[in-house]
Subunit: 378 residues, 2 copies
């Protein structure tokens, strides 16, 4: 006997990059599984920075034209994934998107942001005003002005953002559960960058900083410009999201971030090529000395974020080799949560904290977690 569909979730996806496309593949491949569970995800719109597809009739797959048709390879690929026969593209523009989605916005919608831009924040706030749900892999809307964060989380049951910290690792969900159960969190310590985790464990093995950075880049572990990772801003964004979740009314400028390169070797002073060819090697000696000094005390260096009652610190720390963070090898993320229930011994969550597949799986789990708000009337 087929299970009756109890919940239908209409989804508009922003961002058709690696995560967005993996998400669409997961949605399609999970359809039989979700049907068994009585839940259906209907993708009614997909957009990236150049194009947007909106279906106004999800059953027939027919899509209405709103304005400025313009093709985009990524969105065409997305449409193909979804198996639609009739698709129409419109330029991505907040006003147009709002017009295009207005029917769905009023009916209830999950706006999913898998882009990597601040530009979606206006649309996300409009979605909140319409009582829609939002699910984010994109960290930027949550790490801009505090007022934006406050607005986005104002109806906390209608927002999910697990994949902004540690990809699919259940960090946000665990922190939210612990807070809701009245168990106050005193401290969160984590290694939240797979790239910097890899760099630090390679340094521990005696390798040169410059060699490790070049290897990390050649393995695809870093951004195109490795300074984007080495500067620590990505970790700072994750830490800011956790700190705000703990109730701290702070912004990026309140966070103390240690960069692994000085400004005279940074992107403002030299090209990525120059940095890799000559700049980074200038850091080898000082890094080697730090590693050795730590090792003499039985410690290792880790690039960690620490969120406590006194704010948020991010940088290299000396840690005991046998601590959860000190034991970390390779590119895994780890988060330690200290609270009344996890006081002497923290709650530890560890695993792969990056990757399109894992990040998209986290977003999909977030979307499904909203299903009770989309129950069909009996």
């Amino acid at each position: 006997m087929p299970t009756a569909v109890k919940s239908v979730l209409p989804v508009v996806l922003l961002g058709c990059g690696g995560v967005g496309r993996h998400l669409l593949h997961h949605i399609v491949s999970c359809r039989p599984l979700h049907a068994k569970q009585g839940v259906a995800i209907q993708v009614v719109g997909v957009g990236d920075s150049s194009s947007l597809l909106v279906a106004d009739d999800v059953h027939s797959g027919h899509c209405q034209l709103f304005k400025n048709p313009e093709a985009s390879g990524k969105v065409i690929e997305a449409a193909t994934t979804l198996g639609r026969s009739t698709v129409v593209f419109v330029t991505l523009n907040l006003d147009i998107l709002l017009t295009a989605c207005v029917t769905h916005l009023l009916l209830g919608l999950v706006l999913v942001d898998c882009s990597a831009t601040y530009d979606t924040v206006g649309l996300l706030k409009a979605a909140v005003d319409h009582g829609c749900c939002i699910a984010l892999a994109n960290k930027k809307p949550l790490t801009g002005a505090y007022e934006d964060f406050e607005k986005l989380v104002s109806n906390f049951r209608r927002i999910r953002f697990e994949s902004t910290v540690g990809a699919g690792l259940p960090v946000i969900a665990s922190v939210t559960r612990i807070i809701a159960s009245g168990d106050p969190i005193s401290r969160i310590v984590g290694s939240l960058s797979g790239t910097l985790g890899y760099v630090m464990s390679e340094l521990e093995d005696g390798k040169k900083f410059s060699e490790v950075v070049k290897t990390a880049k050649s393995l695809g572990y870093t951004e195109p410009d490795p300074c984007d990772d080495l500067g620590g801003m990505d970790v700072a964004r994750k830490a800011l999201i956790l700190a705000r979740l703990l109730g701290q009314r702070i912004s990026m400028e309140d966070i103390n971030v240690e960069s692994l390169y000085p400004s005279e070797l940074g992107p403002d002073a030299m090209s990525t090529k120059d940095f890799l060819e000559s700049g980074v090697a200038q850091l080898d000696r000082s890094m080697e000395e730090r590693v050795k000094a730590a090792s003499l005390k039985g410690n290792v260096l880790r690039y960690v974020c620490e969120i406590g009652s006194t704010g948020c610190q991010i940088g290299i720390r000396e840690l005991p080799k046998d601590s959860a963070l000190g034991r970390l090898r390779g590119s895994d993320n780890v988060v330690e949560i200290y609270s009344r229930c996890y006081e002497s011994s923290p709650l530890v969550i560890q695993g792969a904290g990056a990757g399109n597949d894992t990040t998209a799986a986290g977003v999909l789990a977030d979307i499904l977690d909203l299903q009770d708000l989309f129950q069909k009337k009996a």
Copy 2:
């Protein structure tokens, strides 16, 4: 400006022991926090094996008498916690409870089971039939007949049972999220008994088995009869819940459980006193030999459960000293989850997996997780 109450969750609590009473305290102490989030938990009934209190008017606190008034210290204490002025007790009896709760059952109710008995399963199944929600810390209703499990989870959005495995650790929530996102779990390996975790790490330090068991008992780490822990049945129940969650249609009799004592030293053959005074010491030598044999290979012994495609095994395993399980010290629980996204390196969750406070906090988080089903009509 006070937040409008968006969701009201009427709760009936079964089981007024350590976990149940901690839960009531948490509910009361979190009321200001929950009010800020627009959610209210109203305890409309509290019962244990001898008594039941039911409020039919949660606003006035007035409770209706149904049958057989009978006092019980624990339920009176619970009523005091909740701050009610008028309380009425009725004998705990399924028919009476159903009659007493019928109004609430029809209106929607969260039936919370913090008892440790199989006897609640009939009531829980009736609650499912009425479309009510259930939240369990009690493992037994989920580990009896497979048909009972199937019935209880048949409306999966209306049941939560995080605290049945690893207390408040987010094990069930993580497994559920991973499965829902279409990431198939291939294997779960865990150390799910704080008591046996303590015993195994003490043995590693060269202590005698009999001494470790006696110390564990004196520290309150074991059940009154330590054989209840050493037999592995509590671990087997947790493993069965995880295996069933992964879709295995198995029961307790399908699980291979290694007991740490032979039947000739068990409760059927001798008293707890005799076991502690003379029985357990007979096991010292063989245990010491196993510890040494493992140590020669750089391994340690751990009491683990392993749930894979070939079923469920529970017992002592030799594990590398530097694995997540091998590194475990003291009474922490640890769970490793392997899936497509967590293939080479598992998702690891570690922390305190026992304790009334932590278990009750997990149940409270479960109740709150149901709030979208209890939204007030606009």
